[in-house]
């Protein structure tokens, strides 16, 4: 499984990528929407993990752009907000219910990744 992590907190995605790597999941990371869009145009990924809020673009809009570029790409959202309204609005707009609250539990993340990839 190849995963792209996108969050403006570089130290978060850097550490998360290393931890996923230890568990045999190949993870790359980007900290801006533009860089993430460029990356998915250049490399193959199975799954993207996006922060709901990224400078200059919302995770929801980035999801739409990445989906248009790579229709097979699957998505999980991370959010630091965690209100029910955010969750409902995000789920309705994206059609996915794979939201994780920060701080993320790595086992829960991998569980959701596996479930999503097996669908």
């Amino acid at each position: 499984m190849r995963v792209l992590l996108v969050d403006d907190e570089q130290e978060l995605v850097e550490t998360l990528a290393e931890r996923l790597g230890i568990r045999g999941i190949e993870a790359r990371w980007e900290t801006t929407g533009d860089a993430a869009l460029k990356r998915v145009g250049e490399e193959d990924f199975d799954l993207a993990v996006l922060d709901v809020k990224i400078p200059g673009i919302s995770g929801i809009d980035l999801h739409k752009k990445m989906k248009a570029k790579c229709p097979a790409l699957k998505f999980i959202f991370m959010t630091g907000h965690g209100s029910h309204d955010d969750f409902t609005a995000g789920s309705a707009e994206t059609g996915v219910d794979y939201y994780l609250l920060k701080p993320v539990d790595i086992d829960a993340l991998i569980h959701k990744m596996n479930r999503l990839m097996s669908q």
């Binding site: 931890r19 400078p55 920060k102």
Partner: protein, 217 residues
């Protein structure tokens, strides 16, 4: 001119809500990084238990990362504390430099989300004014919020202040977008209420690409 009480209360509560929501989001990010760092240390420990060597340099990187995030959290907590205490007194002598540093500290993450840089330049000589620190903080945020939209392609809002003719003038500069925004867009009723409370005047100068707040000394 008298402001509607509900607009005054709405403006104050929305400001507090906006700032505390942003702060809580930032604290969650800090906690997330510390959480992953602790998890990574645990991963290293498990690897060592299985006989895999741990590079001490990797441990130093994780340790420095945690220390950096704790310093960041201390700064966030300091700003939150200053904001909370800004309602202790509605008339007190405040240091303009401290007020603007807090305003920038509270607004930087919100600015980054809009890809805008806040560039604060403080004069060397301290200046104090007698005012309501909470309402001044609220007004500065309202101006910054608008200024970010008006920052044009430069995407940088300059902030500075100086004493002039017995008053203190705060300048928000680099607002190239002022020319293209409708003139009736700002100030709104919210800002008018705050200006009234503070006895402050606001000037927009599209040619000079700046907004000025003039506080009585």
């Amino acid at each position: 001119m008298t402001g509607r009480p509900d607009v005054k209360i709405e403006t104050e509560l929305q400001f507090f809500g906006k700032m505390t929501a942003s702060i809580s989001h930032e604290i969650k990010n800090v906690m997330a990084i510390i959480n992953e760092s602790a998890g990574l240390l645990e991963d290293y420990t498990l690897m060592a238990e299985k006989g895999l060597p741990i590079d001490p340099e990797r441990l130093k990187v994780v340790s420095r990362r945690v220390t950096k995030q704790i310093r960041r959290a201390v700064e966030i907590a300091k700003n939150l504390n200053s904001l909370a205490h800004s309602v202790d007194h509605f008339q007190k002598s405040v240091d303009m430099g401290e007020i603007l540093e807090l305003a920038v500290g509270l607004s930087t993450r919100l600015a980054e989300m809009r890809s805008v840089t806040l560039d604060l330049k403080l004069p060397t000589d301290p200046v104090t004014v007698i005012t309501s620190p909470f309402h001044l903080q609220n007004l500065i945020w309202q101006v910054l919020d608008f200024a970010m939209d008006a920052s044009g392609e430069g995407k940088t809002v300059g902030i500075t202040f100086k004493k002039e003719d017995g008053a203190v003038k705060i300048r928000f500069t680099g607002l190239a977008g002022l020319k293209t925004l409708p003139p009736d867009k700002f100030p709104t009723e919210k800002e008018e209420n705050l200006l009234l409370i503070l006895g402050t005047m606001i000037h927009q100068d599209a040619e000079a690409q700046e907004i000025q707040l003039v506080l009585p000394k």
